[in-house]
Symmetry: C2
Subunit: 408 residues, 2 copies
């Protein structure tokens, strides 16, 4: 019997009424003969409520204890959703990550899944149960409760789909798929019926935020068929994330415009241009579990170069502090930095075979008088860092410049 994994986000389970709607949808799939695993997030607002409670007690909450408190959010939802499924006449049973068990490393508040014990779930599925699993949480080897970081419920869904070889992992959210850009900024944004895994990866990491990046990586690694759907619209088929390029012969050159204003930039000036210097700078940053996004270094001159990178704004102050001794040690001349930046990217697998994308992008921004502070490119995307006040404008003009409002 085919297995479907469905994951419902916080707004989809934000009230008793919405939870009942989810139960009805699950029942519909179940009645078609599918075995069902449902992964649930905390009810909308609940995680923030719990974090606020923690902050009332401790200004920098202890990470182990923070995971203990925030993991209760999903536990509440899985119980409610199981009740709703039972009320709807189905057999259902909830599992916390500790019960499954979903084993992670011990990096509290940002743990990574190491393994999933599938036996108990498999037995329940065979016995006709809908298995409802708490997203976002895990347990380390020592039995401590961990969490996977914001959006980690997507990863839970994909990891379960991979472990149990599901036919499809459906991510239900408050949007009905992946758009050419955020419709709140560009009303003409269109839903993409398919998007390649690589594009999705770039879109997610660049801030489209429909799916957590790690879940997309996971899906790619284990070839999980991943679909993004709306839990509020019955009709839409959402967006399917594909892993085979030839499924997309008619691929548009550019699939979308992504953006992100959660980052801060740091430039170390006058860095001696010698081997190993990048590691000397970024090693301690990585050791402190700070994720670095863009890294830009241009060719040096006079044995010197400037080294720039971006980090999440939450890590900005910590990063500056960490860099102080490093700058001295490597005898760089100083630091300039700022957190009022935005990153805007054009993404598309079609980009590989088409010249001129970069020039169209830079010309379009120049015409609006938007200064480009940093540039970084990959095979399928071009990203620029600009002043955050121009972000919406940049997204709108690029969306138009690449004709994304026109049907492909």
């Amino acid at each position: 019997m085919s297995l479907i994994v469905q994951k419902y986000g916080g707004t989809s389970v934000g009230s008793a009424e919405r939870i009942k709607n989810v139960a009805r949808r699950v029942a519909k799939w179940r009645s078609r003969g599918y075995q069902m695993i449902v992964v649930a997030s905390a009810m909308a607002g609940e995680t923030n409520r719990l974090i606020a409670l923690a902050n009332e007690v401790q200004s920098q909450p202890d990470p182990r204890e923070l995971d203990v408190i925030i993991s209760t959010g999903e536990q509440v939802t899985i119980a409610l959703l199981s009740m709703a499924l039972i009320e709807a006449g189905l057999k259902a049973r909830s599992y916390t990550a500790m019960q499954v068990r979903i084993v992670t490393d011990s990096a509290h508040t940002r743990a990574r899944i190491v393994s999933i014990d599938e036996d108990r779930i498999r037995a329940d599925l065979e016995a006709g149960y809908v298995v409802v699993v708490a997203g976002f949480q895990g347990v380390d080897e020592k039995g401590n409760i961990t969490t996977l970081g914001r959006g980690g419920s997507d990863t839970t869904g994909v990891a379960l789909a991979a472990a149990l070889k599901a036919e499809e992992c459906q991510i239900y959210t408050d949007v009905d798929g992946v758009y050419t850009t955020d419709p709140r900024i560009v009303p003409e944004a269109r839903r993409l019926s398919t998007v390649t895994f690589e594009e999705m990866l770039e879109m997610a990491s660049l801030g489209s935020r429909v799916l957590q990046i790690r879940s997309v990586e996971f899906a790619g690694k284990y070839k999980v068929r991943l679909r993004v759907l709306s839990s509020f619209e019955e009709e839409s088929e959402g967006t399917l994330i594909t892993f085979e390029e030839d499924e997309n012969m008619e691929q548009a050159i550019i699939s979308g415009i992504a953006f992100n204003r959660d980052e801060a930039k740091v430039t170390i000036l006058g860095v001696p241009d010698r081997p190993g210097i990048a590691y000397q700078i970024l090693g301690p940053i990585g050791d402190a579990s700070i994720d670095v996004d863009m890294i830009v270094q241009n060719v040096g001159h006079d044995g010197m170069t400037d080294f720039s990178f971006t980090v999440h704004r939450n890590d900005y102050q910590k990063t500056l502090k960490l860099l102080e001794p490093i700058v001295k040690h490597i005898q760089a001349s100083g630091i300039v930095s700022g957190d009022r930046i935005a990153k805007v990217s054009v993404v598309g697998v079609g980009m590989r075979s088409h010249a001129g994308i970069a020039s169209t992008m830079f010309r379009t921004l120049a015409e609006e008088g938007i200064n480009i502070e940093m540039i970084s490119t990959s095979e399928i995307k071009i990203s620029v860092v600009i002043d955050e006040k121009y972000m919406e404008l940049a997204v709108r003009v690029l969306h138009r410049a690449f004709a994304l409002d026109q049907p492909a």
Copy 2:
């Protein structure tokens, strides 16, 4: 090093501020050199909020899932309390029942503790940690989350004190000890500095509600030194529950007046007076996990007798339904029942050696025109069932009649 177990109830941890107060109190005990285990309940109102949420989804919440949702209440508190302890400069670590593990049977919403794995706690105590344990919850052999029933956190505290051989188990609540009766009803009620285990047992089961009855039984069985204290008053030494009668040579005849209006009474009329009939009636009630409190059967005549008992009001309708076929089967003549009753009891170990307690009790009630519907006695208590509207009056006049407002 001596170990103290402290248990804090819902009002004691009802806000961030109160949790910080608890942390300060724990720190004070810790600074005196004690190893500390702290058992915490859900924040006041939280369990009811979660039950209401469950009821929104399912009118009769599935018991397994109900335990999953309500156990989150304590999990939130242990995280917050651990954070407060860490903020206060202590080493602290929280444990859910599943992490400890506190193994129970599988009777969801009213499970009983079977065993406690003490190794991990012991290791943490030796390493100088304050160990914060979620009260009220357990895990069954199959890994399902269970709860111990209302007030179950007391039982968790006593069970941990027994397993780890604590010097004392301190139950912090919103009253500073055991009183001769409820001060809300009789303002002259006095705090008892000691009360015997047996009296406490009768007081708790009869509705004094300071401690959950099972916790007192547990304490008696494992000879745990149990003290009831207020978390809001620093000065009071609370009430110590003693297990040696000779510690109380100057014991008053009557220690207190207990009462309970949570019960309903059922009388089966015209029951054939033959061996095995009580079992035929109560067997199915027990099988349905309904607790029976008072049981009264008078001598029969003409081969017939009337059989009465009381159950919790929540189980009243279910009990009546269960009795229908039984009444037919045993050919009894009918049922009379009512849930507008109250039970009032006088309790005291001194009663054993003093005649006349019963007559004083009955005369006092008669003088107020209060009709007695049922009577039941034990070695150290006399209980009567009366119309619930007379309950406060009965408690007040009995408190005065036995001179409980006078210092012993």
